[in-house]
Structure formats: structure tokens, C-alpha cells
């Protein structure tokens, strides 16, 4: 493939927007906000990816899926680069991604609520037991309660709706 025939980076972004997240297949890698850059370095396509959680077992599958998808579109010279900084945050999940999560039964993250480890405020909140208001993705009720800070994958927490009584996942904010 010579330079003139390179697919444009817009085209590559479009292809990547069709690659599903392996753990939550309703959203794509671009919805998740983990593709940081797409660029050509001479005749090699360089895709820069940032991990979600350090220990997420899906990370290696994601790289494999990116490679498989792009090779399927005829890209034969491809390099994946890992970029740690700035660290991924759930704030980067796109609006479209959030709607897809909700429709799938996962309450999307609420921006600006990530744990900061500063406990003074938290201890006061614990005493008053005021939790964040997370709306149930099934019935929309805000009468929900946290079952566990962690859930079925590294990126989710477990909640329950006290109106429709369904348990649901909430996307952990980091």
C-alpha cells in the first residue's frame, strides 16, 4: 500500500467504532474512549490505546480485536501502542455510549463522582448515609441502593432498584 492509498484516519476511526468492547458488546471501543490516537507513521498505522483498569483481563482481547478488525480491512502494517497518561476516566465514555449502556441495563457513570480517596468528606457522608442517586436503567426510579462497590467485571458496581426490585450494574467511576 503506498502513501496515496492509505485509508484516511477518519476511515480508521469509523472502523474502530464498529469494534465492540469484549465484555460489554453493546458499546464500541470508541464509545468507551480508550482509542487515544490513530496516525500513519510512513506506511505503518499506529493505533494508541489506553487501558481502562490496570488489571482488566479484556485489555489483551481488545488489542487482538483491533488488530483482527483492521487486518480485515486490508491494513497489513499495524502497530498498537499503550498510553497510560492521562489515565483513562469514565468521563470519556461518549454520550452515545452512555445511552447504549442504559438501554442494555447498565446505569452509565455519573461524571465527576470518581473516588478520590479523601476520606474526611466521605466519613461525614457515611454518617448521614447519603449515597449518590443512581437511576435504575430499567424503570428510571431513583430509589436504588448499592449492593456492592464491585460487580461482574472490573468496571462495574452492583446496585438494586427498590421500586422494580431488579438488580442492575452501575458503571464504576474512575
Amino acid at each position: 500500500m503506498n502513501a496515496a492509498q492509505h485509508p484516511g484516519t477518519d476511515q480508521v476511526w469509523d472502523w474502530l467504532s464498529q469494534v465492540p468492547d469484549p465484555e460489554i458488546p453493546v458499546i464500541s471501543l470508541t464509545d468507551l474512549g480508550i482509542i487515544r490516537d490513530v496516525a500513519w507513521a510512513d506506511d505503518t498505522l499506529v493505533v494508541t490505546v489506553t487501558p481502562t483498569y490496570s488489571g482488566c483481563p479484556a485489555t489483551s482481547i481488545i488489542n487482538l480485536d483491533i488488530e483482527t478488525a483492521l487486518r480485515g480491512h486490508g491494513i497489513d502494517k499495524l502497530r498498537l501502542e499503550r498510553q497510560l497518561s492521562p489515565a483513562w476516566t469514565t468521563d470519556w465514555i461518549t454520550e452515545e455510549g452512555r445511552e447504549k449502556l442504559r438501554a442494555y441495563g447498565i446505569a452509565p457513570p455519573i461524571d465527576g463522582t470518581a473516588a478520590d480517596g479523601r476520606l474526611a468528606g466521605r466519613i461525614a457522608r457515611l454518617a448521614g448515609s447519603s449515597n449518590l442517586t443512581i437511576a435504575c436503567p430499567r424503570c428510571g426510579s431513583t430509589k436504588t441502593e448499592k449492593l456492592s462497590q464491585f460487580g461482574s467485571t472490573p468496571c462495574k458496581a452492583s446496585y438494586r432498584c427498590t421500586d422494580c426490585l431488579e438488580p442492575f450494574d452501575y458503571f464504576k467511576c474512575i
Binding site: P51, Y53, S54, G55, C56, P57, L84, S85, P86, A87, W88, T89, A114, A115, D116, G117, L119, A120, R122, I123, L126, A127, L147, S148, Q149, F150, G151, S152, P154, S158, K172, I174
Partner: protein
């Protein structure tokens, strides 16, 4: 990227093993609960915490391997060193005990870990700063959970209170090691790579005192403290842990999948 040549490479690699081994050994310990926790939600929470720590350990040991430059990988560092080669704190190799001991150990370590990572996010070595900034977010989450549970169980039933008080007393004598400075710490601190461990103590104490007060648990105060893990002098417990963790690579050298 910081000029690695300006600092003693051996000290830098040694220090990286300390940070990476804390994450690896605590991650492994916590993973031992998988399938055994008192409730399904807790089982999942513990497994997720373990996963975060093991993910962080891969980053730290990967950098340790790069800095020591002896052709070893993160996996080889994890699976092919014997107990004397490990540089983790004695606290993280303590056996799981009951659920209270596991949570108290997690809280005492998380409260230290967050301060360490916060300081490391400003490291002069950009690789260290990047890993720390990433890990800090995960550890903030761990700390919220472990602090919540220490409070709920400490200020819970008579039985849970008693168990948490016992756990605190048994682990307290392993907390002093977190804040001891040695020549390796001095070398990385002088290069601006990491803070002196002693500089983290005041913030750790503030967190611990606030949470213990809320949990109606008494701070054990001054006590004789164990040390040695950072220099490779471990308790007998680490050997048994490694026997399990390293079994596959020892029995089937080079096995991969």
C-alpha cells in the same frame, strides 16, 4: 523521561521491586478469597481488588525489569524469584485470617498506598508518574471500600467489633515498616523519583485515626514493630504463598498459553 543514568540504577530497580511486590503479594493474598468470601458481593469485590493490584504489579515489575536491564520480564520477576528476592512489606504477606483481618490489612495498606501513589504521581521519572496516576484512581476506590467496611464492622455487632479490634492489634505491629527509610529510599528520594517513606506517615495516621474513631476502635499506639520485608527478610508465610503462586512455572518451566 528522567535521566536514569543520574541515579543509581540498582537502587531504582530495587525500589521498583518494593512497589511492585507489595501489589503482587497483596493481590495474590486477596485472590485466595476467590470462591470463599462470606457473601457473593464480597467475593466479587475481593477478586476485583486483587485484579487491580495484579494489573498494577505488571506495570511496576515491567518497569523494574526495564530498569535493571538484565533481560528479565515482569513474569520472570514474579514467578522465578525465591522468597529472599522479594521486597514486599511484611504486612501484605500476613495470612488472610478471618474476613476482618483481611479487611483491616487492606485498609491499613490502602491508606498508605494512596499517599505513596499521590506522591509518586509527581515523580521526576515520567514512567513512574504515569503508572502512579493510573493506580491512584483504582486505589482511591479500594480505600473507600476498605474504610467503609472497617467502620461498618468496627461499629457493628459485638462480635464484629471484637474481631476488628483483634485484627487491628495483630496487624498493627507490621505497619511501622511502611515508614522506615533506608539507603535505597534515600537514593530514589534524592533523585526525585519517590518520597521518603517517613514523609507519608502523618497523612496515613490522619486517615487511620479518622476511620478508627468512626469505627469505635482504639488506636493501639506505640508498639514494637516488625521489619525486614523491604530488604528480603520475610516471615515463613511468604514461602507458602510463593509455593502456590509459582507452582506452574516451577513445575513446567516456560509454560505459556
Amino acid at each position: 523521561m528522567a535521566d536514569v543514568a543520574s541515579i543509581d540504577r540498582t537502587a531504582f530497580a530495587e525500589w521498583l521491586l518494593r512497589v511492585g511486590d507489595n501489589a503482587l503479594i497483596l493481590g495474590h493474598r486477596v485472590s485466595e478469597w476467590c470462591g470463599h468470601a462470606p457473601a457473593l458481593e464480597e467475593d466479587i469485590a475481593l477478586a476485583n481488588t486483587a485484579l487491580d493490584l495484579i494489573g498494577q504489579c505488571q506495570l511496576w515489575l515491567g518497569l523494574a525489569a526495564e530498569v535493571e536491564d538484565k533481560g528479565r520480564t515482569a513474569d520472570q520477576l514474579a514467578f522465578l524469584r525465591d522468597a529472599g528476592g522479594f521486597r514486599n512489606l511484611l504486612l501484605v504477606e500476613r495470612p488472610n485470617g478471618d474476613f476482618g483481618v483481611t479487611l483491616m490489612r487492606q485498609f491499613l495498606f490502602d491508606a498508605f498506598h494512596i499517599e505513596l501513589l499521590r506522591a509518586l504521581a509527581k515523580s521526576t521519572d515520567s514512567r513512574v508518574a504515569e503508572i502512579a496516576a493510573k493506580a491512584e484512581k483504582e486505589v482511591a476506590y479500594h480505600l473507600e471500600r476498605s474504610a467503609d467496611l472497617v467502620i461498618r464492622l468496627g461499629d457493628g455487632s459485638a462480635e464484629s467489633h471484637e474481631r476488628m479490634a483483634k485484627a487491628l492489634k495483630s496487624l498493627w505491629v507490621y505497619t511501622g515498616e511502611m515508614f522506615l527509610d533506608d539507603a535505597t529510599d534515600q537514593a530514589v528520594a534524592e533523585a526525585g523519583i519517590a518520597p521518603l517513606p517517613s514523609s507519608l506517615k502523618a497523612a496515613w495516621e490522619a486517615t487511620v485515626n479518622a476511620v478508627l474513631a468512626e469505627a469505635t476502635l482504639e488506636n493501639p499506639g506505640q508498639a514494637w514493630q516488625h521489619k525486614g520485608g523491604k530488604q528480603g527478610i520475610h516471615s515463613e508465610h511468604l514461602g507458602f504463598l510463593l509455593a502456590e503462586m509459582q507452582f506452574l512455572q516451577r513445575a513446567y518451566p516456560g509454560a505459556s498459553w
